[in-house]
């Protein structure tokens, strides 16, 4: 399961900003987008955990101290394709390009360093998670699991959460079938 992409759009042009927002939401979900009309608004928000930044050329130049280190995560909107020359090598979108071209550019940006986001998405359960799964399926309560494995209740809860995320299965019966299908427990251990 992918984490939402956190995106900041810093553009004074409201229509441009909303248009970009809706394109991102339509074509590249799941995204969480914050829009700022000025750079000050972004810095006063105090939020510096965005995965991607969208801004225009003049803001990029004006606040180069901020954007240059984040260059690989920043997309600059430029008015005409030649106008980008003054900028150091950056990702940019010519705003007058057709929708397809813009989408392609966006795609490149997102696939460029997609590994940072998806690397945690490891499908296989860890050994500990498998232990927890076995106990869940046998009908143990969270408290019992914690005692048996000598871990805290919170750890059990976070293992359960990870199991559900990795497998996409929420209910105990669903997990039971998954466990049998994958030989994590044998069907004789529990009654169905």
């Amino acid at each position: 399961m992918h984490r939402n992409k956190q995106i900041a759009i810093i553009l004074p042009d409201t229509l441009q900003s909303i248009g970009l927002q809706s394109m991102l939401a339509d074509y590249f979900p799941p995204v969480e987008i914050s829009r700022y009309s000025t750079f000050e608004a972004l810095s006063t928000s105090g939020n510096d955990t965005f995965d991607y930044y969208f801004t225009n050329a003049s803001l990029f130049v004006l606040y180069a101290d901020f954007f240059l280190p984040r260059r690989s995560k920043t997309m600059v909107l430029i008015d005409n394709p030649e106008g980008g020359n003054g900028l150091p090598a950056t990702n940019h979108i010519p705003v007058k390009a057709s929708q397809e071209v813009i989408i392609e550019q966006l795609e490149q940006l997102f696939t460029g360093d997609g590994n940072g986001i998806s690397s945690e998405n490891n499908k296989e359960l860890s050994t500990r998670e498998t232990d927890v799964l076995q106990l869940i399926v046998k009908g143990s309560t969270n408290k019992e699991i914690a005692d048996k494995l000598n871990i805290s209740l919170n750890t059990v809860l976070s293992h359960r959460k990870n199991i559900t995320t990795k497998l996409g299965i929420k209910t105990v019966s669903g997990l039971t079938f998954y466990a049998i299908m994958n030989g994590i427990i044998s069907g004789d251990d529990i009654e169905l």
Partner: protein, 227 residues
């Protein structure tokens, strides 16, 4: 009316629940409601919420009479029991028998489905035996009250709904098939099963929205008035 149904064939079971049959001709929704003596407003609201996930006018739905809502929920229950469940079972049965006999995964999926069916059946029985009659008796008791005052107290307790076990089971069933199926299987029948499960899932989601966000708050408001 026919235009809407042509565009959204998934509405056919919904209008059937209201007793409307196909062969709609060019009649308007209003004409059909008159013909079948239906509350046009209620029919439209149900159809609109069914088609549009975002559209859910709680206030408006709560102004309808308890018996209308219960009647609709009862009919959807019947529809699950008489058609959708047997339908999935049929597909699932041939899916399992037409695929490689040795594929144990499929048998397990069959068992998982049976356990889901048990859950759903027991909920429906409970609805028919106690929950729905109870709701109706409450509204019967309050007959004398002006109906507008009845729903003043309804803002409370909306979003505190827990995850519905039936919905969760169905979602897991689908997810197990899509993400974790292994071995040889018959692709065409597998798609039929998943498709049938998906449409049941969608229908139950709609049913649950009305159940938890309309009926439940209505009942708790009526309970307050009865005390």
């Amino acid at each position: 009316m026919s235009e809407v149904v042509e565009e959204h064939p998934s509405l056919i079971p919904v209008i059937n629940r209201f007793g409307i049959h196909l062969g709609l001709g060019d009649k308007s929704v209003k004409a059909i409601c008159e013909e079948y003596r239906l509350d046009c407003d209620f029919l439209l609201t149900v159809i609109n919420t069914f088609l549009n996930e975002e559209y859910f006018p709680e206030k408006k739905l709560q102004t309808f009479h308890t018996s209308q809502i219960i009647d609709y929920l009862t009919k959807t229950n019947q529809y699950y029991q008489r058609y959708q469940i047997p339908n999935i079972e049929r597909h699932l049965g041939s899916f399992i028998s037409m695929s490689t006999p040795g594929n144990n995964t499929l048998n397990l999926i069959g068992k998982f489905f049976s356990s889901f069916k048990e859950e759903l059946t027991s909920r429906i029985e409970k609805d028919d035996r106690s929950w729905f009659p109870y709701c109706l008796s409450l509204s019967e008791k309050l007959k004398g009250y002006p109906s507008s005052g009845q729903f003043e107290a309804l803002h409370l307790g909306t979003e505190q709904r827990l995850e519905d076990p039936i919905e969760a089971l169905l979602a897991d069933l689908k997810s197990i098939m899509i993400k974790h199926l292994s071995g040889d299987y018959n692709e065409n029948l597998c798609y039929a099963v998943i498709f049938a499960i998906s449409s049941l899932e969608k229908d139950i989601k709609q049913h649950n929205r009305i159940r938890y966000r309309i009926l439940t708050p209505m009942v708790s408001a009526m309970e307050k008035l009865c005390i």
